[in-house]
């Protein structure tokens, strides 16, 4: 019995090849097309690898305890990034305390309570979609107008954090809504059938079920805010801050410090910038790793 088993994947590969033999003119085109597809995919991956290798090469020699524990200085031998690292972490904390509850509240309202056919609900939805695509520098202008004029808070850490918070609202709202949408209606109906109110069902059943998705989306939003530069330039994140910042003091964050170091003429500062980039990437990678871990640990498949 000729029971030669073939996996269909090899057969599918043969499909492309033999069809080339079959239809003369399309063969070359199809081959070129596949070449183009592979090239496209490789470019992105190659760029990522080159980027990481470059950064590591430039930065590793400068990555030391001076960088981690000293304050910025005009002398590259003594320049460090400690106040910037502290400020970046503080900003993340402020965002978790402010923007996160607002974004999750918005998502819960839109997904669980709002009547979708109302014109103003549709306006809110369109507004969120659009806000997600507004250039970050525009949020900087918003900050500039209100820091300097309206609230008169001055260039302090809290203002910067609030601006970043507004900017990351749509990202978290959209991610949270998707997580809530993934919770099947049977969960809601089951709760309602037992006589629970809509709010009780949402609070006790729906939100806990959606937590992994919400957490993942929130961390992704947070990490984007941590890496943001442009809007903070506009609200006066200063460069040489030699003290650990408070909520209402001047501050600088890692991306701004990196930006300023890149602009300095001395070669050593380029290396320091690369080293600070490594620190920033390590912070972001650990946040994202945590998000992935959370998702894998708690994700339920419906």
């Amino acid at each position: 019995m000729n029971a030669a088993a073939r996996t269909a994947s090899t057969a599918a590969g043969a499909t492309v090849r033999s069809s080339l033999a079959g239809h003369g003119h399309s063969s070359v085109t199809a081959k070129l097309f596949l070449g183009y597809l592979l090239f496209s995919t490789v470019v992105g991956l190659a760029a990522l690898v080159t980027l990481l290798v470059t950064i590591l090469q430039d930065g590793l020699p400068y990555l030391d305890s001076v960088l981690l524990f000293n304050a910025p200085s005009a002398n590259p031998e003594r320049a460090g990034a400690r106040p910037a690292i502290v400020a970046s972490i503080m900003i993340a904390a402020v965002l978790m305390a402010t923007a996160l509850p607002v974004a999750i509240g918005t998502a819960v309202y839109l997904e669980e309570f709002a009547q979708r056919d109302r014109w103003w609900i549709r306006l809110v939805e369109l507004n969120i979609q659009n806000l997600a695509a507004v250039p970050s520098i525009i949020f900087g202008i918003l900050g500039l107008a209100f820091v300097v004029r309206g609230l008169n808070l001055g260039p302090v850490l809290l203002t910067g954090a609030l601006i970043l918070g507004l900017q990351m609202l749509p990202t978290i709202i959209i991610a949270t809504r998707e997580a809530l949408r993934a919770v099947p209606d049977s969960v809601r109906q089951g709760g309602m059938a037992l006589g629970a109110t809509r709010w009780q069902v949402v609070w006790r059943e729906v939100i806990p079920a959606a937590i992994p998705g919400v957490a993942t989306g929130s961390i992704l939003g947070l990490s984007r805010a941590i890496g943001e530069t442009a809007p903070l330039l506009m609200v006066g994140a200063a460069t040489f801050v030699s003290f650990n910042p408070g909520l209402l003091t001047q501050y600088t964050v890692l991306p701004i410090l990196i930006y300023q170091w890149i602009k300095l003429p001395q070669e050593a500062f380029q290396g320091l910038a690369a080293a600070a980039i490594i620190v920033l990437l390590v912070i972001l990678v650990s946040m994202n790793g945590f998000a992935i871990w959370l998702r894998n640990r708690y994700e339920r498949r419906w």
């Binding site: 599918a12 097309f33 183009y36 309570f113 006066g236």
Partner: protein, 285 residues
């Protein structure tokens, strides 16, 4: 009570938009009482911070166009190619490895990409014998393209995944090969979603700030030459906003006039993209 609180939270995002519009419109109106829109939009010299000052925004728009063009040259064709590969050709295991790796690229902070453009790409171009300026539109544009490649790939792939697999089966059943199925059935059926990803990428490229600020320079001029240093709208806003411009001065107000120009351009593109995404959802859902 709680639900009211939630509704109030939902209103904050509206307030953000209102805040942006108010912040932009009032100083812009003041600006346009001093400088006529005609001068602003049609003259070709931009020296708001010098004397004699000139307020022709076109050099900034041309600079933006130049970097955006190179970004598009990279991210549109390569993003689409990646999307087609992942959606129609790649085996599940390859897709599962490639997709998240590309998304890492989209999550790299722009200041890092700016550093890469300035300290890796530009020197590379020069060592290859192309005498670009230290700050140039080409390097910045290419790196913006790399940044946006995963966005285009991911959104286009979503659009292609939304094409029912019955259409693929139908065409394979007629004797079409993978190339024909991809180009004649899947891509045409997903075209509005793909177009939306393109428009969104263009909008992002126009609004990208940090990369151009680091790698494209601060020299406003009417040049589309890729090796030239240019100033984009965003670079002007960030560069000027970060300095000590006295509040209420004409220089201060130019930030807002350029800002509202940028905002309107990206708003139009975004609304356009959002509507196209809706259209492809309506067809199949």
């Amino acid at each position: 009570m709680i639900i009211t609180c939630l509704a109030v939270a939902a209103l904050i995002s509206i307030l953000a938009t209102v805040g942006i519009v108010v912040a932009l419109v009032a100083p812009s109106l003041e600006f346009f009482t001093e400088i006529s829109p005609r001068e602003f939009f049609t003259t070709t010299t931009w020296t708001p911070l010098f004397t004699p000052s000139a307020f022709g925004v076109l050099p900034l728009i041309v600079g933006t166009l130049s970097t955006t063009l190179w970004a598009c040259v990279i991210c549109l064709p390569l993003g689409l190619g990646t999307a087609i590969y992942l959606s129609e050709y790649a085996r599940p295991r390859v897709r599962a490895a490639v997709k998240p790796t590309l998304e890492v690229l989209a999550g790299i902070p722009t200041v890092v990409l700016g550093y890469f453009a300035l300290t890796f790409l530009t020197p590379l171009l020069r060592s290859l014998g192309w005498q670009v300026e230290i700050f140039n539109a080409f390097s910045a544009g290419i790196i913006i393209g790399i940044l946006l490649l995963p966005t285009v790939a991911s959104l286009s792939e979503d659009a292609m995944k939304a094409v029912p697999s019955s259409l693929r089966e139908g065409s394979f059943g007629l004797g079409a090969n993978r190339f024909q199925v991809a180009t004649r059935v899947v891509v045409p059926a997903a075209v509005s979603g793909i177009a939306a990803s393109f428009v969104l990428a263009i909008s992002r490229a126009i609004g990208e700030t940090t990369i151009v600020l680091i790698a494209a320079g601060q020299l406003p001029r009417m040049s589309l030459h890729p090796g030239d240093s240019v100033q984009t709208m965003t670079a002007f806003i960030a560069g000027t906003g970060a300095g000590d411009v006295p509040v209420g001065s004409i220089e201060y107000k130019t930030i807002f006039a350029v800002g509202i120009t940028l905002f309107v351009i990206t708003l139009v593109l975004n609304v356009f993209a959002i509507r196209m995404v809706r259209r492809f959802r309506e067809v199949y859902e």
